[in-house]
């Protein structure tokens, strides 16, 4: 029989279950993952010399990434309870804390994004500022430096994308997050949303086509990791299995299956597969659904993870 449990404490942040993070953290994780995907795409373009063809991945993504990352960091800052001490993040490095790793990764990401942006700055920026044009020409004349910026962009993008998931999975007190697969899942989702965005804004048919193919690959990967994550949780401890059941009949079943799986992965995967097979035309519907699903995934995992907990009643289960 289920034990009764009363407690004299009432802490709105932890009773009856954790509620420490609201919209700010899912938005930050989404934007961070999205920018991580953009950095990988841009990095690949720069490292392979394809930036000379001036694709969207080289000319548009770094600038958009700078804006999105800044918005994400603003959301993260808004979440802090002790805002005037935020500078303390940069007076130390705590190797056991993913959040500390993330803070330093974000510092390294900015100059790489600026470097990537300078390789192919938008024509308007180059026209308005002579120094931007000079810096861009100087950089373009050094192919090995451009390749190095590309390689750094790929490495830091992967680190940033994985970090957004590891941030949650390192908090072992919440069984739903207790999986090393959250990092790869959020990285795959970030890559998928970046490819979807490039698909949405690319002008050249060839680039749109290749972004749709890449997005299909990332979505398939995301679906596979999500399945493994659920299997792993169900085969884990009782608390982890209870966490997985939040998506299998529990409180988060509808948002998970409708917004994360169907809207965010399955429907766009079908639509884009038909498009790349030339059975239907490319439409903005699929990429918009992917972006919506990516945001929904962060919201669902952050909120459901907070609702999962180690059950009380340990004493009651003793013989």
């Amino acid at each position: 029989m289920t034990p009764e449990f009363f407690i004299t404490r009432h802490n709105a942040m932890v009773d009856p279950f954790l509620r420490v993070w609201s919209w700010e953290i899912p938005v930050y994780l989404f934007l961070g993952g999205w920018v991580a995907g953009m950095m990988i795409l841009t990095g690949f373009t720069l490292a392979t010399g394809r930036h000379r063809e001036r694709p969207c991945a080289a000319s548009a993504l770094p600038g958009v990434g700078l804006v999105l990352l800044s918005l994400g960091m603003l959301a993260l800052f808004l979440d802090l309870e002790h805002k005037r001490f935020v500078w303390r993040l940069y007076t130390t490095f705590q190797p056991s804390s993913p959040m500390s790793w993330g803070a330093w990764i974000l510092i390294a990401v900015y100059p790489v994004l600026v470097g990537s942006w300078l390789v192919r700055p938008p024509a308007l920026a180059a026209d308005l500022s002579a120094s931007v044009e000079r810096a861009s020409l100087w950089l373009q004349a050094r192919a090995s430096l451009v390749r190095a910026v590309g390689a750094a962009s790929i490495g830091l993008g992967a680190a940033l994308g994985i970090y957004t998931g590891v941030l949650l999975s390192s908090l072992g007190a919440r069984p739903l997050w207790s999986s090393g697969l959250l990092g790869p899942l959020f990285l795959a989702s970030g890559l998928s949303t970046a490819a979807a965005f490039a698909h949405l804004v690319a002008r050249h048919t060839g680039e749109r086509e290749s972004m749709a193919r890449l997005d299909n690959l990332a979505l398939s990967l995301e679906l596979a990791i999500l399945s493994l994550l659920m299997l792993g949780l169900l085969a884990g401890s009782a608390a982890q299995a209870d966490g997985a059941r939040l998506f299998l009949g529990g409180a988060f079943t509808a948002p998970f299956w409708v917004f994360v799986v169907l809207v965010g992965i399955v429907i766009p995967l079908i639509v884009q597969s038909l498009a790349v097979a030339h059975r239907i035309q490319h439409t903005p519907v699929a990429p918009v659904l992917v972006l919506t699903g990516g945001l929904a995934m962060r919201f669902v995992f952050v909120y459901a993870g907070q609702a999962s907990h180690w059950a009380h009643g340990v004493w009651a289960s003793l013989p």
Binding site: F5, E81, L89
Partner: protein
């Protein structure tokens, strides 16, 4: 080096909440928040019911996840006593420590930093007992150094059966509830 811990006799605790009031007074805990609290757990089916009353607080774990996840080092293990403390001026209020604690022992102080039980280290360093221990009318607490085989707590734990909360969480809690 000392490693402080606490044994709480569940056969003596009546849930009077003197420990809670003493802690709030001693540590000026803000209204609406608590560093310690009482949990009542009832199990079984009528008429064979069993009840346990527990005074709960931070478990000052041997492997504290709140310290591992802290990005600034504000949450740290202090000596002597291997007690988990928070430096308010280093805490950014990210709440990762609240999310990482399986015992939900932390709260956010109205000034913005994470707060929790300190085992009244300021009293213990002066040769006194923690406030909750000193006021308990049923004397159900035993506080002391777990690494000293001659301490009162080591002798108590050697002679009585007890359990910790959520051992599966793997954090090595140092508060033992005597059966």
């Amino acid at each position: 080096m000392a490693r402080y811990g606490m044994a709480i006799d569940t056969r003596k605790c009546v849930g009077c909440m003197d420990c809670v009031v003493a802690c709030k007074t001693e540590n000026q805990v803000p209204a609406g928040e608590a560093r310690d609290w009482i949990a009542y757990e009832t199990a079984g089916a009528f008429p064979t019911l069993r009840m346990e009353i527990r005074s709960e607080r931070c478990n000052h774990c041997d492997r504290p996840p709140c310290v591992a996840c802290c990005p600034t080092g504000a949450s740290h293990v202090a000596q002597p006593g291997h007690v988990v403390l928070v430096t308010p001026g280093a805490c950014i209020g990210c709440k990762a420590c609240l999310a990482s604690c399986p015992y939900d022992a932390r709260f956010v102080h109205p000034d913005g930093y994470a707060d929790k039980c300190t085992f009244c280290l300021h009293r213990v360093n002066g040769g006194l007992e923690p406030a909750c221990v000193s006021v308990c009318p049923s004397r159900c607490f035993t506080f002391g150094d777990l690494d000293d085989p001659n301490s009162a707590i080591s002798r108590t734990l050697a002679s009585r059966r007890g359990h910790t909360l959520l051992p599966a969480a793997g954090t090595g809690p140092r508060i033992v509830y005597l059966d």
